[in-house]
Amino acid sequence: MESPPQSVLLCRYGELFLKSGNRKRFESMLVNNVQAAIAGLPGARVENPHGRILVRVADADAEEAAARVGRVFGLVSLSVARVVAAEETAIGDAAVAATHAALERWPRARTGAPVPSPSFRVDANRADKSFPVPSMELGSRVGARVVAATGLRVDLHAADLHIGVEVTSRGAFVYAGTRAAPGGLPVGVSGRGLLLLSGGIDSPVAGWLAAKRGLALDAIYFHSPPFIGEKSKDKVLTLGRILARWGALRSVTVVPFTDAQKQLRDARAAELAVVLYRRMMMRIADEIADGLGAGALVTGENLGQVASQTVENLTAIEAASRHVILRPLVTYDKVETTDLARRIGTFETSILPFDDCCSLFVPRHPATKARAQDAEKVEADVDVDGLVAAAVAGAERIAVTS
């Protein structure tokens, strides 16, 4: 007989989409995504009994599983429960141990702060009604054990720490505390998008936010060898792998961009260079998106962060694309984006000192009010279709996994 896993992650998802007509589809997508997150952990498996998601996992893998499942969009929170015999003493022991563990993790205001002493409550329920102690009574008995062991104070109305006991026919789940999950919608429910990924701080964050709204992503990266080195490409692939940890990204398509940049740069419209480059990126991204079945483009563009990011320029850039362009960061302050990049885990990689093509051959004083027709005038002297076709032909798609 298989030895029973010792822990279970109790995953909670938002009420929001449960009420919508899409519930079934959303839920099965979420289960799939949780399944993908725990792939490779021996013996870990997902169960989906009546409207909730449980992950059974060996005790030793529980923390790793919780970290991974804690990155699944669509989940709001999770608790890591020990599975013990459905028997009062064992439940009490597990509750005391879980409380001690929660106190270890409890945030300390600053060094030298006294030992944390959150208030708590116990929520007990019996799915297995053959358990001899009624739920209310079980809760107060377990609470008494925790008070005796830790001296913590009970507060039924505004508890800092929730201790949970669920008695089932296959053992009792006991946990103390919940951990936040990112919320949002399960990746995939909103279809597929193509993220324009550079080596900077913004575009990975934009991708993360789009994925949080249920968009499954591939990425496109514009590479300009020989002016941009291999390390810049490696850096983008590292960013891609970090997004893949969130279940957000499937692949990065590396597109050669040198010729396009050279020809547009040669077109003697220096102040338009940024807009011309980006219009060309949009056209190439359109083609790549078609091949990947992506219905939207996602960029890290912002309003006013750099001089060239004006409504006029965004309009001129957008005019070159056939797809809807999603700009999750359009209204973000740099500081908000940076904070999010730290949380996502991309910040340290994004600030590595390797240039990307966006820093190459750009004018000191770019146009701030470009018009599509000005750009079109310059593009008339350039073989736009040929450049797009050559870039697409030279594209290399690289699968990314966490």
Binding site: P226, F227, A270, L352, P353, F354, D355, P363, H365
Partner: protein, 389 residues
Amino acid sequence: MVYLDNAASTRPAPEVLAATRAVEEAFFANPASAHGLGAAAARALEAARAEVASALGAETAEIVFTGGGTEANALGLLGAARAARGRHLVVSGLEHPAVARTAERLAAEGYELSVIAPTPAGVVRAADVVAAIRPDTAVVALMLVNNELGTLQPVAEVAQELAAAPARGPRRPHLHVDAVQAFGLLRVRPRALGADTLALSAHKVHGPKGVGALWVRAGARLEPLWDGGKQERGLRSGTENVPGCVGLGRAAALAVAAQDAGAPAQIERERDRLERECLAAVSALIPGARLTVTGAPRAPHIASLALPGFPAEPLLHALEARDVYASAGSACASRTRGPSAVLKAIGVDDRTAVLRFSLARTTTPDDVDAAVDALRAAVLEISPLVRIS
């Protein structure tokens, strides 16, 4: 492949690879073990120590093996500062981050730090260094050869003035010398220089990475950086990297043999030709292209070209596309890359790329020809794209 980034790292000599491999296979025992296998490893280690000592004209007892040049510098600077009473440090403004940032760490721990500004020629003046010394100066740190410019620093002059000057405190300050870029290419004689500690690295002289040495003058006061099994006379605890140390020993002996055979003069000749021909090749497209520093004595292997108005990183990659490997920096923080403190300190303009070719005894005249051709082509390729506003 034309590899001209030897100041960053060198290709290990075949003899070094053979020696380290043989040690990995045969002398894997712990040199501290009491059995015969341990003794064999210890003998290999001591033979390597003798080779390093011989290359420095020093005693074997003066060589402490370390985990590389940075560690050797840390032991020399931190170790001497912590062993001294004084709480003042004098450091040149040209030091490698291994020394400069270590000095900053000491400053954060409460030491006072005097940083000696270099001249535009890329040297610090001995008189400026000596003038900064106070009765409570614990350590003076000065590099022998600057890694970005190749300029020789007046270490012996500083040491002489320190020795000649009437004692300003209870003890003369400790003189730590970073010789990482000098060792192997120049005849380095730490005792004659007047150093108290001197740091070197194996991988800059065709040896393996992860191993270096600190020469420590007998009687110099040094605190170890950490404690443990008291290897290396208690100054560097931790089981010795025997294959690495043997590799360093071999590399040192080979470097001495190459010096005796006239390698430095040959390197210098090719370096001078490289500089001349590179400047001739680019001067039409880059007005103001010049040597980054002139007027100071230099080590033979580093060519540093200043290219006004040119972006450093694209140039480097354009050379790489032609199979020529160099390195580049600038005094400004570009969008993503931090500035070079050294280039800033000697007053290189913000919009100037500094291209460094660094040669080795493995560099051939054909390599130099190929590098000149590649630079000409790379500049030709990039210059229409950078001529902006």
